[in-house]
Symmetry: C2
DNA sequence: ACATTGTATTGACATCTATCGATGAATCAT
DNA sequence: ATGATTCATCGATAGATGTCAATACAATGT
């Protein structure tokens, strides 16, 4: 610890647990494929998985892997109707994330 | 492409380039250490590097690596004054990110 | 029952990344 | 100049992760 420049222990804007939780949520959205999937789902009421493979252009296991991650993060929720799974965005989740990001800059 | 459930090509909410750019910015913030560093910087006017090692509790090369990534993403900017580098948050950047996230849900 | 279709899981592989020790470059004090 | 200090860079390593082929599971239809 140097001498002349350093203040006290700082105002601890974000503790370890909060940083880990927020980082985990951000990591879920930090993949281009997941972003596109979430964007497709969140901009519609409901999206069938069969409507994801086309635009996203990835294999079926890859899509399943990404939707599972988005669901585990609480960003989307899936409902199985018949053979297909229909996805919808969890309301308010993107809003909460946006305000969390804004709060990073508040003392 | 299945038959009964699938619509047309979807409303293309996010093209590949936009998804890659946003994902890259989110990836920059998807690390707990970087989140804490950015939080410390963004909640103050200016923060010296010597005020980061203490709260973050990582080695000096690790801190340097993270500040470099935050700076490359345009989230912080560093000014060298004498021996120390002083960091400040780029104004508006967190705001832009927050609105980008909110736009994901808009048709 | 059997075949078909949509989805999830497993295993393997390649790539990326966070971390740190060692070293180099730049700045200041004496 | 010499030494001390601050920061960046390099090399190495361990862990995480995106991707897909193969396979298993679930639901529907014949």
């Amino acid at each position: 610890m140097p001498a002349e420049c350093c203040d006290e222990a700082s105002n601890e804007a974000l503790d370890d647990a909060a940083a880990a939780a927020l980082a985990s949520l951000l990591a879920t959205l930090s993949d281009p494929v997941r972003l596109r999937i979430y964007s497709l789902i969140a901009s519609s009421d409901e999206v069938c998985s069969c409507n994801l493979e086309g635009p996203v252009n990835k294999s079926q296991p890859t899509i399943s892997h990404h939707t599972a991650k988005l669901a585990a993060a609480g960003l989307i929720i899936g409902e199985r109707r018949g053979r297909w799974t229909w996805w919808r965005a969890v309301p308010g989740r993107a809003n909460d994330l946006a305000t969390s990001i804004l709060d990073l800059g508040r003392p």
